[in-house]
Every structure is written in C-alpha cells, then in structure tokens.
Amino acid sequence: MRPKNLFLCLRFQTISSRLFFEKRFYGIQKSSADEEEFDKLNIMPRMFVKGDREPLAKREALRPQLTPRYNRMPVDQDWNSVWPTAKMFNPSAVPLPVHMGKLKTVSGPKPPPGKFANPELMKVPNFLHLAPPAIKKHCDAIRKFCTPWPQALTDEMCDKYFPLEVITSDYCHASPTIREPKARIITIRIKLSSLDLDYHAKDKLKRILQHRYDPKTDLITIVADKCPLKSQNIDYAKYLLTACFFEAWKTESWESEKEQSDWETFFWEKSPSKASLINYFKKTFQNFNEENFLEKDTVKDYSKSVKNLFDKEENDELLEDYRKNVEKLLFDERL
C-alpha cells in the first residue's frame, strides 16, 4: 500500500507544479478566464514554488543597506585595531582585492573568484591579525614582562652552577580539555663531568646508566614517564639520578672478580703484554731493573700503542705506530 501512495503523492506534486508553471507563464493570456476560477489551492508548500515570493527581508523591511565598511576606512588607519585577533575572513572589513579558489572552465582557466561570497577564503586561516607592525606592537607591549639575562651569567657559569637540565613538554590542542597524557613525560640531563666522581665511580656509573650515558657528548639523559604527573616524574628522575650516583661510589665484593673481558678499557699494566715484555727483557738482560725500565719513554710509547690497538679501531696508522715502537724497543734498547 505504502509505495503506491507515495507514487500517487509524487505524481500529484508534479501535476501541481505544472499547474503553477502554466499559471505563471500563461497568466497574461488567461487572465480573463482566471477571474472566474475558484481560488487556487496551493498544494505545493510555498517555499518550493520558485519565484512566487520575493525575499522576505526585502519585502518586509524595505531596508537600505550599509555599504561594506571598508569604504569608510581612512587610508592611515591602525589596522591592528580593525583586525586585532584571529578571525574568519570578512570581505566587508578587508580593504584589499583578494581572490581565492581555482576555476577551470571549458573555455580555459579563469581568474579565481573574488572576496565576496567566497567560502574558500573563510576556510583558510589568515594572518591578517599578525601583520609585522602588529607583531612589533605586541612585542613592545609585553617587553616589560621580560627580564634581561643577567650579564654576569655566562654559558660556562650556567654549566657550573646549573648543571641539571629538566626538559618538559606542554601540549596545546583544540579541544575542551587541557589534559594530554604525553605531557607527563620528562627528561633530565646532566654532564657526567659535573658530578663529583672518582675513576671507579665514574666507570661504575657508566655501567649502571648503560645507554643513558652518551660518551660523545658526556651527557647523562634520564627519561621518566612512570608516574601520572609531570612533577612526580621530575622527582622520580631526580631520585633515580641520586640513587645511581650513590650506587656508583660503592665497591661491592664481587667487583674484584672483574676480568679482562669486563675491562672498560685496556689496562696495559695488568695485561699479559706487559708480563711477556718484562719476561723477555729479564731473559735477555742480566742486570734488568724493572722499575727503571718501566720509566723509559720507549716502554711508555709501546704501552700506549698496544693500548690503542686494543681500544681503538684498528687501522694502518696504529699498526705502523706499533711496529715503530716495537722496533725501538727491540733494537734501540740499550740497557
């Protein structure tokens, strides 16, 4: 039943619209006949009948409109006062011939549409409130809030007196809430050299920190995101740093079990290289004095090149250096 009804309804509508059409276009010829007719039954809603009514505002108000206000603007006006904040583009307030959009017709490209009744211009963010003079004014206005950087405080002094760096992030979203989970993540940074450590503690701290220490820049970086709040994470990161620091100063009993494979660097003094060298010279020279021997430059040079070979990446230069030092030691050494 339903579809049929709908169909009927549709047909009825088309008929009635045709009726209106005829009336409007043939009204003049049929006018004499029209007077005799019954009052017409308006089946179509008024708003669907095209041209039947003039715009309401025109009919009722008869209201002459203001001209767009850019016509009244003086040439030397203060633009900052006309357009103080971010606002959608407004053709009646901008005294510029702006065009926006793209038109490609069959007859070829045409100039883009002008500023009136152009929704594209309303959509794009404009920077009319940030003209250079306006920015200059803003800067002048907030200058009084800025404190000059203390002259006495140089970069070196900063490193010395404020070694700890805390990095936090704030996020600004377009949303009703100002919360952002990522804002809790913080980073603290400190130079290893600014901590008061001896060789063992330094080495141990490096081992404790692992990847958090960057030997290239000598920076310790600790990222904390365990706690829900930023300040809690800062406290936590500081606690971690403190804990690592004190842990580094301790020497546990098991640390004595350190082997060559655990060495952070090559210790020639403790290496088999030294032992075999001493051994060799002991056998070669009767009056071998170990202490004097070790003081010699040649020995020191040799030990250095061995150490370099172990610690650094092997290359021709180092090998050449090693060869020279070995030669010196073996052939030039006269005890």
């Binding site: 715009p55 959608m88 959009g101 038109l103 009744a117 979203h173």
Partner: protein, 111 residues
C-alpha cells in the same frame, strides 16, 4: 570531481586531524552534530557549507547565509546557536557569518 585539500579546503579545521591529535572520533561526531544542528536551526538559510574551526576550547562556526529572514531573527538564531551549542559541547561557541542576497551568488561556474 572535488579535490579536497587542493582546489578546495577542508570544512573542519582542528588539531585532532593532525598527527597524534587527541579526540579524533569525538571531534568528528561533534562536528557532525554541529552540522545537523545548524541545518535544522538555520533551516534553508546556509548557502555555503558549514565551516567549523577550533582554537583551544573555542569553536568557531562560519558560513554564508541567505538574507531571506530579517536580521533581527538572524540575531536570535545566532544567540540561540552559540549558547545552546556551548551547553552541549562545553566549549565557547562563536558564529562568524556573512550574508548574500541569493544562493546564486556562490556559484562560480556552470558546467
């Protein structure tokens, strides 16, 4: 064929659509709600699409409206829309509209 983002810009401007934006789905649904609300409240008045821009907790609704009702009534609708949407979305809502005499003024080309 529309080339949104090339020859025609987006109708919604917000940070949710950016990388790592928050409230993606909520924003989309809210925008849909706003558009439905506008099309119902400003019935047959909007000649352009509804442009929704968000800045911090302010929502700016823009568009081009046909001058088929009295300015007085339009002001009533502005006040009503701004206030009611503020209550619903708990954000400041602002309307920035322009008016045209008829919808035809927006047509830029005939195919």
């Amino acid at each position: 064929m529309y080339k949104i983002g090339f020859t025609k810009t987006w109708n919604s401007w917000n940070t949710s659509n950016l990388l790592d934006g928050l409230r993606k789905s909520e924003t989309a649904v809210e925008d849909l709600f706003i558009r439905k609300f506008i099309s119902g409240t400003w019935h047959r008045l909007f000649a352009s699409e509804v442009i929704i821009k968000r800045r911090a907790n302010t929502i700016i609704i823009g568009g081009i409206v046909v001058r088929s009702i009295l300015p007085r009534k339009m002001y009533f609708l502005i006040g009503f829309t701004e206030e009611l949407l503020s209550y619903v979305l708990k954000c400041n809502v602002k309307m920035e509209i322009q008016t045209v005499e008829s919808k035809e003024e927006l047509i830029v080309k005939y195919v």
